[in-house]
Symmetry: C2
Subunit: 477 residues, 2 copies
């Protein structure tokens, strides 16, 4: 038997770390707070990248690459930005054996250096919009780190756009938020709440930050992507100016937005169970694993012949793995692939061969309930359909879980209980003092003010003042 | 008229820099020696990545990601390695506002940190081989930098494999060299010489380094990819040990290999001309550009209708761009797309519409010679075929150029003349002193000892001693 993960009910945090390591997603690096993304984890990240990159390109964005190093003085140009990022910087002071005249920051995010370049590239309204995305590594010196969720170095995409008007920039910010939500829902099978960050939680230098927030398996929230309307803050700091159609000099309006390897952690925590990972078919590096079952040579020949036909039928259609490893029992292999979260297993035994069928076993429904016998004749269609069903069911299950753990408290006591058990949709007056009180007394924060709000007003769950919006309060990663 | 590049005959080096900037491939960054890869240049790099990544995966390699930061002590563990890389290191000394106890090196290459991880992952022969590749940024503090060819930070892939036997590792080293050569020839249309590096030119820490060497438009050589057999050097330094089938503890045998954004510079210099870039169709971000030609509204309607049909026919088949920009003359657009090296232009004018045809113009054959009229009916096939022809012709032209500028000197005077005018295939005794003398007197270096050698022996071009191999001498980037 392969080793088992700590059950979620015993210690959720250890369960998470166990799964990430035992499913071969990542390993600790010999550098504080850094991780090694192992091939299986990186293949998952490649599928996440592909799903996002395709959507960015379909909406007119292009990729580019800006330098890793940023002169320290750049970071200091935008007042809020420097306040937010200064404590987290990694700084290069020596290059080629010599002390550098100006220290270089290892990018924690690239608004500043990209702002500098845009100032150079933009002269006229004809040069706008600029719709650039970058796939890159970034570094933030974090105190407490966790594989994928918070690491000193992480991988991400960061989009940086510049526009002629505020309206256009805001539209872009929200278009990206929609792309993030669509990706989370459709590809990662993760339900998300689209919303606006409160002032205290917004990106350092932004006018407004938008976010998609998801509920993890322990009912905590995870910010899975953010999109920022930067107004003219960075344009002023870096002098991104253009002549408009009336020949007047204007500052540009910019946005920035990012999704990181954190998304891998979200996939683990939303779908996984005590057997290990459960991957949504659209992102799974291996969608279907075939396990041959036989006892003697005669059976083996017949089974492997059938497995060959299964491979031939499915290989062009799905990401397939045939597990023909020697010296391991079928049961051991079942556990091994369950740990890795492969959505669908095909078992091929002597009886199946005799009946010209195979057994499909769903990873998301362990035990007999998730097993069906399928004739070899219609296998390809059956597998394709089953993968779609699994994808849809994973989303439905995650949504049902979130809904079952979402509460609508009307007073502070209700809020306190709600955030101990999940998400709280609660009226909030907009006052940072009320927000701070919640955080202090419950450790929960405002995850977002949802964009979709039922009309009406209510009383702030903290101070009782009339409020026009509900916020989502939750304990968060 | 768009601005023009400096002619190659006037100043090749300025021509190169002009093309890179005016074709929008890259721009200088505000950090010494760094560049910004602009969207058009990055799209080219994405196609290079795709061509290599596909070949790596088809030969059983997987991608992973290792940390950017390497403890300084790691670099010091392999004696040759530290000697080679020490002068080029960028070093982080401050993290999160505090002086670090152990400085961190920004990876110049990842043998050391990956060696450390492999030591952790490998216990038994069953854990081998490990066939991992990484797409990443690396930093080497270079004194004299040039866009794409030599920059402080660059993008690359670095493969790192570990094997149970020397034979297997050497086989891997050469398999990758073959992949690099195949990619260069088939995708980049660049003829390359596969060969072994001399001792003085090999990778710091390698037993043997292999390379693919290409001739640029100024007859200098460019190392376009390297594959290193590392023997047990890094396995010993990092303690990568395994129990073999006889239950005996052995050190593993490792390899490493890389191709970088330098390849973009090679594409520019091998194919470009005084009009700008010429891109091989397989790598071109835009393979076909359509330029509508009209004088009045009536013509415009008819032309744009035809352009619509061209788009519909070609868009699923090729990477297509319709240049319907207003206020720019067709001639201006021709020049603009020639600068960017788009392999094929389709002109659609009123006369073409009347005759149900279009004009195809090849970027690699400027003027009338490269123009043909093609009926709308068979357009897709004609375009597909023409792109294949252009791809093949670019390779043939580059090969003919190299052959015309390759010489076989028999004595030192002949060598001196040869390396002033191209590549010299010359007998070499293997003595580093002879190699050093050539470098000192001509600035040419041994680019490689070609793997393919005609049998026989000759007299060393420097000292006259009997020699068993010819080396390729050339001035190089």
């Amino acid at each position: 038997m392969p080793a088992k993960v700590t059950p979620r009910s015993v210690d959720y945090s250890r369960w998470y770390t166990d799964v990430v390591q035992m499913a071969d997603l990542a390993d600790y690096a010999p550098v504080r707070g850094c991780m090694v993304i192992k091939p299986y984890g990186y293949a998952l990240w490649e599928n996440i990248k592909e799903g996002l990159d395709r959507r960015f390109k379909a909406t007119g964005h292009v990729n580019a690459y800006f330098p890793l190093f940023i002169p320290l003085s750049f970071i200091q140009k935008e007042a809020e930005h420097v306040k937010g990022f200064s404590p987290e910087l990694a700084i290069v002071t020596i290059g080629g054996g010599e002390q550098l005249e100006e220290p270089l920051v290892v990018r924690p995010t690239s608004e500043t250096i990209i702002g500098h370049m845009y100032a150079k590239w933009v002269q006229s309204y004809r040069d706008l919009p600029i719709l650039i995305n970058q796939w890159a590594n970034v570094v933030r010196w974090e105190m407490r780190t966790r594989l994928f969720l918070r690491t000193t170095e992480f991988l991400w995409q960061e989009g940086h756009t510049a526009h002629a008007t505020a309206e256009e920039a805001l539209e872009e910010t929200l278009r990206i938020l929609d792309i993030y939500a669509e990706f989370a829902i459709e590809d990662a099978a993760i339900p998300v709440i689209k919303g606006r960050k409160s002032e205290s939680e917004r990106f350092a230098g932004a006018v407004t930050s938008y976010t998609i927030e998801a509920m993890m398996g322990d009912k905590r929230a995870l910010q899975a992507g953010t999109s920022h309307f930067l107004g003219q803050n960075f344009a002023r700091a870096f002098d991104i100016k253009f002549l408009d159609q009336n020949n007047e000099l204007q500052y540009a309006w910019t946005t920035s937005w990012g999704v990181s390897t954190r998304m891998v952690g979200a996939v683990v925590m939303v779908h996984g169970d005590d057997q290990g990972l459960i991957l949504p078919p659209k992102l799974a590096p291996i969608q279907v694993v075939v396990v041959p079952i036989w006892r003697d040579e005669e059976q083996r020949t017949a089974v492997m012949e059938a497995v060959g036909r299964v491979r031939q039928a499915l290989e062009p259609e799905v990401r397939l793995k045939v597990d023909d490893r020697e010296g391991l029992s079928p049961g051991w292999k079942f556990n091994d692939w369950e740990m890795r979260g492969v959505p669908l297993r095909i078992e091929v035994g002597p009886q199946d061969v005799a009946q010209e069928q195979v057994v499909l076993a769903r990873r998301d429904r362990p035990g007999k309930e998730g097993k069906t016998s399928v004739p070899m004749a219609g296998l390809t269609d059956a597998v394709r359909e089953m993968l779609m069903t699994v994808q849809a069911d994973l989303y439905r299950r995650a949504l049902a879980f979130r809904e079952a753990n979402t509460f609508y408290p009307e007073d502070f006591e209700g809020l306190r209980e709600a955030v101990a058990n999940g998400f709280a949709y609660a009226w909030w007056c907009g006052d940072a003092a009320c927000e701070a009180k919640v955080k202090e007394e419950t450790t929960a924060t405002i995850r977002c003010i949802p964009l979709e709000q039922e009309p009406g007003t209510g009383r702030c769950v903290v101070c009782g003042r009339e409020s026009r919006e509900r916020a989502v309060f939750a304990r968060a990663y």
